[in-house]
Amino acid sequence: MNYFQLFHLPAQFELDLTELGTRYLELQRQFHPDKHAAGSERDKLMAVQQAANINDAYHSLKQPLLRAEHLLALRGLKISNEQRSFMEPAFLMQQMELRELLAEISDASDPDALIDEADQQIQQQKKALLRQLQSALDANNPEHDHQAADIIRKLKFFFKLQHELELIEQTQD
């Protein structure tokens, strides 16, 4: 299923989240099961199915990485659920160093300073990668699509780091 089509949005990475939200509410109203309560069994079933599709689509389009994965899948490059290991030594070494930095926070004399440092590095890298992802996807050709897939893989590590950092921040409070 093409989520962009379902929401009448152009199949591209850049997306107006307000517009997405408005379309979501419209579609939800249109396919709300209550509106089809008087219809045939088949109608009701279709409305329930469509409501589920709308929720899935909204969830995927809202999040940049899922949106990028969906866009690639529509272009024939499926990378969700892949179990392949990522093997770029320099990138992984940097990940390891950031993980080590995160591990130091709990014993640090000034944990807030380390949290800020880690947060800054993660945000900076994430921003740069998201920019690269945007231009790779905009190029819309197989070579750039493969580059985009690699950028998504890298971004997943940074989203994970951000999550780990948030967990650490919670225990610091």
């Binding site: 892949e82 290991s85 990522f86 093997m87 992984l92 390891m96 893989r153 997943k156 590590f157 989203f159």
Partner: protein, 127 residues
């Protein structure tokens, strides 16, 4: 999800955690990661002139299964030649640790870490 007793054992008492000096010519370093869960694994092998793995160390940031898989692998590779170590399959690791299907990728990561370390060694020793 319940971890097997072997996973818990390796997770609570991980074998061979740590690092060797990276630039020591007898040390091979393999770095791998799993984008799906953000796990990062570093496996280092100390290889002697006869191509036998004398020692191994690992550092893994990830779930219990990923830590257990890498810990187990450091035990398995010791005393093996690099060619023998290259034959270790993720299915052996998964079976030994009784990993559930959703954690198979952790054993794949550990197998790939051995391969990456051996590739690093071969690249540095020119064959």
């Amino acid at each position: 999800m319940a971890y097997s007793t072997k996973v818990i054992d390796h997770y609570e008492n991980p074998r061979n955690v740590g690092s060797f000096a990276k630039d020591d010519p007898s040390i091979a370093t393999g770095m791998v990661g799993a984008p799906a869960c953000g796990d990062v694994m570093k496996l280092q092998l100390k290889i002697n002139a006869e191509g036998i793995i004398e020692d191994a160390k690992f550092k893994t940031y990830g779930c219990g299964s990923a830590i257990a898989s890498s810990s187990l692998v450091t035990e398995w590779v010791k005393g093996k030649s690099i060619d023998e170590a290259a034959l270790i399959k993720n299915t052996d690791i998964a079976q030994e640790l009784a990993l559930p299907p959703v954690k198979i990728h952790c054993s794949i990561l550990a197998e790939d870490a051995i391969k990456a370390a051996i590739a690093d060694y071969k690249q540095r020793h020119g064959n």
